[in-house]
C-alpha cells in the first residue's frame, strides 16, 4: 500500500484539517468532535442541511458545504459512518430555528447513527427531518437486503435541496424537494479495480486483470457480480440500462446525466462513458438537459465510475442552476 498519508489513524484528521486550511473562506472545521460548518452558519431563517458518512468519498460531503448546498458535513472514519456525538453538535450548530434536514445515505451504519443523533437533537429542541438517499439500482432485491444504497444521487439531492433551502423554502418543503429528487434519480456503478482502506492495508477485494465488478457501492465493497472486462461502450450499456428501466424515463423527458468517477479513473475515460450514455439517451428521445462529469462521490483511489440519471422538471432545473459556492461545486457566484 502506497499512499500520501502519514499514519492510517490520522488520515481523516489531517485531511479535514488541510481541507479547512485550503477553504477557510468557505468552511470552519471543528476538530473534536469532527464536523465541518459553513462559515456563516447558522444562516438566519434558513432550513439547514446536514450530511455525513464515512470518509474516503471526497469531495462528498465536506466539499459540498457552502452557499446553496450543505450547512454542515460530518465525516466519519474511512468508510465508517460518523457517530452521534459528531452529528448532534453539527446539527445544533447550523440550526437557525428553521429546522435541520439530515441527508443520509441508506447504509445501516449511517441510518442508525443519524437516527440516534436526530432523536437527541430533537430532544434538545431542534426540528430534525431525515431524507434517506437510496438510488443504487445495483441492489435488486431490497426485501432481502438492507435496501438500496445511497450513491451518486446524493450529490444531486444535496445540490437541489440546498438550493431550495437557500431560496427560503420551509422545512417540510425542502424535505419534500429532497425526497422528490431521491425518487427521481437512479444510479449504478462499476469497478475496474478495488481501493485500499488505509487502516486495512490490503485491497478491499481481489479482481483479476481481465475482470470487473458490476454494481459496486462506494465503500470498496464487492459488487453484485463479476464479469469479464468489456469495452467502455459495453460497460456503459450495462450500467445505464438498469438505471433507465428502473427510473422508467420516457421519450420526450428531460434528464440530468451524471457520470461520476470513483477516484482513480482519468477524466478522459469518464467522458468516453458520458459520450456513449448521451448517445443512448438521445437515441431514446430523452433530452440530456444538464450534465455533470467528474469525481464527486468516490471510493478512495478505486478505478471505475457510476452513472446517475435524474429526471428533470422545471423546478429541478431551476434549483440545479441556482448559485452554489462550495469547494467542489461552484457556479453563479
Amino acid at each position: 500500500m502506497k499512499k500520501l498519508i502519514n499514519d492510517p489513524q490520522s488520515v481523516v484528521d489531517e485531511s479535514v484539517e488541510g481541507f479547512g486550511l485550503a477553504h477557510a473562506d468557505l468552511v470552519t472545521v471543528h476538530a473534536d468532535p469532527k464536523y465541518v460548518l459553513r462559515t456563516d452558519a447558522p444562516v438566519a431563517g434558513k432550513v439547514a442541511l446536514v450530511s455525513g458518512g464515512g470518509s474516503g468519498h471526497e469531495p462528498l460531503h465536506a466539499g459540498f458545504v457552502g452557499l446553496g448546498m450543505l450547512d454542515a458535513a460530518v465525516p466519519g472514519a474511512v468508510f465508517t459512518s460518523p457517530t452521534p456525538d459528531q452529528i448532534i453538535p453539527a446539527t445544533t450548530a447550523v440550526d437557525s430555528g428553521a429546522g435541520v434536514i439530515h441527508i443520509v445515505k441508506n447504509y445501516t451504519g449511517d441510518v442508525l447513527n443519524f437516527e440516534t443523533a436526530a432523536e437527541m437533537a430533537q430532544a434538545e429542541g431542534v426540528h430534525v427531518r431525515t431524507v434517506l438517499v437510496n438510488d443504487d439500482v445495483a441492489v435488486e432485491d431490497s426485501l432481502y437486503t438492507a435496501g438500496r444504497r445511497g450513491v451518486g444521487g446524493t450529490v444531486l439531492v444535496e445540490k437541489i435541496a440546498g438550493a431550495a433551502a437557500e431560496r427560503g423554502d420551509d422545512l417540510e418543503t425542502v424535505l419534500a424537494v429532497a425526497e422528490r429528487v431521491n425518487r427521481n434519480v437512479r444510479s449504478m456503478g462499476v469497478a475496474l479495480s478495488a481501493c485500499t482502506v488505509p487502516h486495512a492495508g490490503a485491497p478491499s477485494f481481489d479482481l483479476a486483470d481481465d475482470e470487473i465488478e458490476i454494481g459496486i457501492g462506494i465503500h470498496g465493497e464487492p459488487g453484485r457480480h463479476r464479469i469479464a472486462m468489456e469495452n467502455a461502450d459495453g460497460i456503459t450499456d450495462r450500467l445505464l440500462q438498469p438505471v433507465l428501466e428502473d427510473l422508467r424515463v420516457d421519450s420526450g423527458e428531460k434528464v440530468l446525466l451524471f457520470v461520476n468517477g470513483m477516484g482513480g479513473t482519468p477524466q478522459s475515460e469518464l467522458y468516453i462513458v458520458f459520450r456513449r450514455a448521451a448517445q443512448i439517451l438521445n437515441d431514446r428521445g430523452i433530452t440530456v438537459q444538464r450534465s455533470l462529469v467528474g469525481n464527486f462521490v468516490t471510493s478512495l483511489e478505486m478505478q471505475g465510475c457510476s452513472i446517475s440519471v435524474l429526471r428533470l422538471d422545471d423546478e429541478f432545473t431551476e434549483l440545479w442552476d441556482a448559485p452554489v459556492h462550495t469547494a467542489a461545486l461552484r457556479w453563479g457566484i
Binding site: P33, G54, G76, A77, V78, F79, T80, S81, P82, T83, P84, D85, Y107, T108, G109, L112, N113, E115, T116, A138, V139, E140, D141, Y144, T145, A146, R149, V197, H199, A200, A202, S204, F205, G217, H219, G220, E221, P222, R224, H225
Partner: protein, 214 residues
C-alpha cells in the same frame, strides 16, 4: 466467584485486548463481505472504553457497561457502533445498581443486550448478523442460569456465540452491508458475529481472572 465491578472492568479490558489482537482478522472478515473496517472500528471503540475507564472508574458492573456503551456509541461508528452501544446500554440498565451479578441477572442482562440489538437493527436469526451469535448465546445462558452459577452461564453463552458465529458461514446475508452481495455473501463468516463471540469469551476469561489473582 463473584461477578462484581472488578469482573466487569476486567471484562472490558480483556475485550479491548481481544479487539486489538483480532483486529486484522475482523478486518479480513469484513473485507470479504463488507468494507474492511469492523476490526478497526471495534479496536478504536474499545481503546476509547479503556480511556474512559481510566478517567472515571465505575463503581458497579452496570456503571461499567454504561460507560462502555457511551464510548462505543461515540467511537465505533458504522453499524456496529450503535448496535453494540445499545446492547451494552440495555445490559447496563438490566443490571441496575446491583453490586454483584448473579446467574439470573446475568442471563437477563444478556437477553436485554440481544433484544437491544434486534430492536435497533431489526435483523432476525439467520440474517447473517451479530444476532446469530447473540441469540444462541442468550438461549444457552438462560438454560445454564437455572443452575445458579454465573461462570457457567458465561461459559455457555460464549460457547454458543462461537458456534453461532461459525454457523453464519454458509448463510446468505439479508441485513447490513453484506446483504448487497446476495448469494456471494455465503461462504464467509459474519464479522459482527465473530466479534460478539470474542467479547463473550472475554467475559469468561474475566471471570476466571476474577476468581484467581488479578
Amino acid at each position: 466467584m463473584a461477578l462484581d465491578v472488578t469482573w466487569a472492568v476486567q471484562w472490558l479490558r480483556l475485550s479491548a485486548e481481544a479487539m486489538a489482537k483480532h483486529r486484522s482478522e475482523l478486518i479480513e472478515l469484513d473485507r470479504a463481505i463488507g468494507d474492511s473496517d469492523h476490526g478497526e472500528n471495534m479496536d478504536r471503540g474499545f481503546k476509547a472504553v479503556l480511556q474512559k475507564l481510566a478517567e472515571s472508574p465505575p463503581e458497579t458492573p452496570g456503571a461499567a457497561l454504561k460507560l462502555a456503551a457511551m464510548a462505543l456509541m461515540s467511537k465505533v461508528g458504522g453499524a456496529a457502533g450503535p448496535l453494540y452501544g445499545t446492547a451494552y446500554l440495555r445490559a447496563a440498565t438490566a443490571m441496575g445498581e446491583a453490586g454483584e451479578i448473579d446467574a439470573q441477572l446475568l442471563s437477563e442482562a444478556l437477553t436485554a443486550a440481544r433484544d437491544g440489538v434486534v430492536a435497533r437493527g431489526k435483523a432476525e436469526p439467520g440474517d447473517k448478523t451479530m444476532v446469530d451469535a447473540w441469540t444462541p448465546a442468550v438461549d444457552a445462558a438462560r438454560k445454564a442460569a437455572a443452575d445458579g452459577d454465573p461462570a457457567a452461564v458465561l461459559e455457555a453463552a460464549a460457547a454458543a456465540a462461537e458456534a453461532g458465529a461459525v454457523a453464519t458461514d454458509p448463510l446468505v446475508a439479508r441485513k447490513g452491508r453484506a446483504s448487497y452481495l446476495g448469494e456471494r455473501s455465503a461462504g464467509h463468516r459474519d464479522p459482527g458475529a465473530a466479534s460478539t463471540a470474542l467479547l463473550l469469551r472475554a467475559a469468561v476469561e474475566a471471570a476466571d481472572h476474577a476468581a484467581g489473582p488479578l
